[in-house]
């Protein structure tokens, strides 16, 4: 019993409550408490890297009645999620201080943001499926409201679409849970793994597996279920877009998928094939759709689907190297996609447009945004020594080692097409001649620059120090997925 896991939930909820009470008398309480809370969460999760690496796990039981109590556990995979969430949310909250001035009711935005972070942390910590579901519901409700935060035509439309798709996804997950509990008689993940280990696949289990695949697939926006993502991620306020694309789809969708298909069910060749095919289709089709986009944030949103395809492809290979590549790419994608959204947002804030054809030559006027965006573009296109290169390389090597040459070729092709579409983004926003009307554009405010530099430094740092990152941070998560740890 350690109280540490509880802190990951208490800190954001407390910050949300304090802001909700104080904002009427103290205007800036939102700015200050959100950033302090996110910084505390980041410090806490980084402090846990050492103990987790040494093989410890932390757990906390809230109420000890066996099926009804709330059990929180931190293992390698949870910590990977918590740390990724913390760093992206810290960058987004620093960015919000100046960016969200354009919207009214900024304190309410902070309250919703902190509740969303609390929901994501509950998902990452939960040791049983009920907590997973409750976390998903909290985070999703806050997220629907945040997508609609601008209350203009596009915001409401995107949010409504997302609400419909998200609710259907949640219901699929919930029915899957019901059938699983009916068959196995438990909802605790570790117990379920033990119970299901020897059993074959009964029809009811198969049905619940399909429901889980559909539900988490909807939440993570894999290819047949992706329709809501480009709308929601491109219209939401930029810091929210960064969190949504950076960590939200991963924690709410992919993390559940990993827990269900690797930690609860055994991974079979059939599931492995399904995951790889879904991943490869998402990877290739979404990047082709992204090539045709002229709205910067929409282009980035399509790339989120495509890069999530890489993660699923890596996980689906189901060898230790493949899972390592997938999880490493998950972290890397969070960092560079968050950064790209923040860059696109600062261009939008300073110029008032997201249309690539109207922009150009902004490298001269916005050097920090231009440089960080170049770093992120190189990362996502897979240039050494940036972080994206190593994770894509690991995934491709793992695919070749496991004998899936076709999937390796798809992954390499996807990477080339990604590079093409980011050449387009860079060419139309930052290079070329500066149009007359953007001669007076200024660099983004200091705090926004700080948050972009933070993420850019993380991209470069992980790229240079990747052996240590893999050993200290990713490997414990792989052990947790493969059930080798603890």
């Amino acid at each position: 019993m350690s109280v540490l896991p509880l802190l990951f939930v208490v800190i954001p909820v407390a910050a949300a409550a304090i802001i909700a009470i104080l904002y009427r008398v103290w205007e800036r309480s939102g700015d200050i408490f959100t950033n302090i809370a996110n910084l505390a969460l980041l410090v806490l999760s980084l402090a846990l890297v050492g103990p987790i690496w040494r093989g410890e796990t932390f757990s906390y039981n809230l109420g000890d009645v066996s099926p009804l109590g709330i059990h929180f556990t931190i293992d390698g995979l949870s910590l990977l999620m918590l740390a990724t969430v913390s760093i992206i949310c810290l960058a987004a909250s620093l960015y919000s201080v100046n960016y969200m001035e354009r919207y009214t009711a900024k304190p309410r935005y902070y309250v919703l943001l902190m509740l969303m972070i609390a929901g994501m942390n509950i998902v990452a910590l939960g040791a049983d499926l009920v907590n997973l579901y409750i976390g998903i519901e909290i985070a999703a409700l806050a997220c629907y409201a945040l997508v609609a935060f601008g209350v203009e035509h596009e915001y409401l439309e995107a949010s409504f679409k997302y609400q419909i798709m998200g609710t259907v996804g949640t219901l699929c997950i919930l029915s899957g849970m019901a059938f699983l509990y009916r068959t196995a008689g438990s909802l605790n993940m570790a117990e379920l793994h033990g119970i299901l280990l020897g059993q074959g696949l009964s029809p009811m289990l198969l049905f619940s597996g399909i429901l889980f695949l559909a539900g988490f697939g909807l939440k993570a926006a894999y290819m047949p279920f992706h329709a809501w993502l480009p709308d929601a991620h491109s219209t939401a306020p930029t810091p929210v877009s960064a969190i949504l694309s950076g960590v939200f789809i991963k924690v709410i969708g992919l993390y559940g998928m990993i827990r269900v298909f690797f930690c609860i069910f055994e991974i079979t060749p059939t599931t492995s094939w399904i995951l790889m095919v879904v991943g490869a289709i998402s990877l290739l089709v979404a990047v082709l759709l992204a090539l045709g986009q002229w709205d910067s944030k929409r282009l980035l949103a399509y790339h989120s689907i495509s890069q999530m395809g890489y993660v699923l492809l890596g996980l689906g290979i189901a060898t230790p190297l493949g899972i390592l590549g997938g999880l490493f790419h998950l972290v890397n994608h969070a960092l560079f996609k968050g950064l790209l959204f923040l860059d696109a947002g600062s261009v939008e804030m300073q110029t008032g447009t997201r249309q690539l054809k109207e922009l150009g030559g902004l490298n001269q006027r916005m050097p920090v945004t231009g440089t960080t965006c170049a770093i992120a573009s190189l990362s996502i296109s897979g240039f050494p020594p940036f972080n994206g290169f190593w994770s894509k390389l690991i995934i491709i090597i793992a695919a070749i080692q496991a004998g899936y040459l076709g999937f390796a070729i798809v992954a390499a092709l996807g990477s080339i097409l990604t590079m093409a579409s980011f050449l387009k983004l860079e060419r139309y926003i930052f290079f070329g001649s500066l149009p007359e009307k953007w001669q007076k554009v200024k660099e983004a405010p200091v705090l926004m620059c700080v948050s972009m530099i933070l993420l850019a430094a993380a991209c470069l740092g992980i790229g240079l120090a990747f052996p240590w990152i893999i050993d200290g941070f990713i490997q414990p998560a792989v052990n947790a997925v493969m059930m080798l740890g603890a």
Binding site: E137, L141, V151, L156, V168, L174, S175
Partner: protein, 99 residues
């Protein structure tokens, strides 16, 4: 037990039909509501069939209904705001985002 599964499946499919086919925002929301209720009925009846005193199914069933209520109210608020902006409940006319 089979009868309960059939009832839940029918409710769920009617809900899906409402979401996929209907053009009116309010009818879509009703469809979602039917789906939430079908899952709640499924959970509660599974708990009843189990007959054990754990109460986990009943708890999750209640949480489902509460969560569904939250989503439903948010959807209705969004629908009202959409009506104020677009002057219609018809989803085929609410299409600014595309591509």
């Amino acid at each position: 037990m089979t009868a309960v599964y059939v009832i839940c499946a029918i409710l769920f499919i009617v809900g899906i039909y409402g979401v996929v086919v209907k053009k009116n925002l309010i009818k879509i929301i009703i469809g979602i509501s039917l789906m939430v209720q079908s899952v709640a009925v499924l959970l509660l009846s599974l708990g009843y069939a189990e007959g054990v005193g754990e109460g986990l199914f009943q708890t999750i069933g209640l949480i489902t209904m509460i969560g569904g209520l939250g989503v439903m109210s948010l959807m209705i608020i969004t629908a009202i705001r959409l009506y104020e902006k677009y002057g219609t409940f018809d989803v085929s006319e609410i299409r600014r985002l595309r591509g």
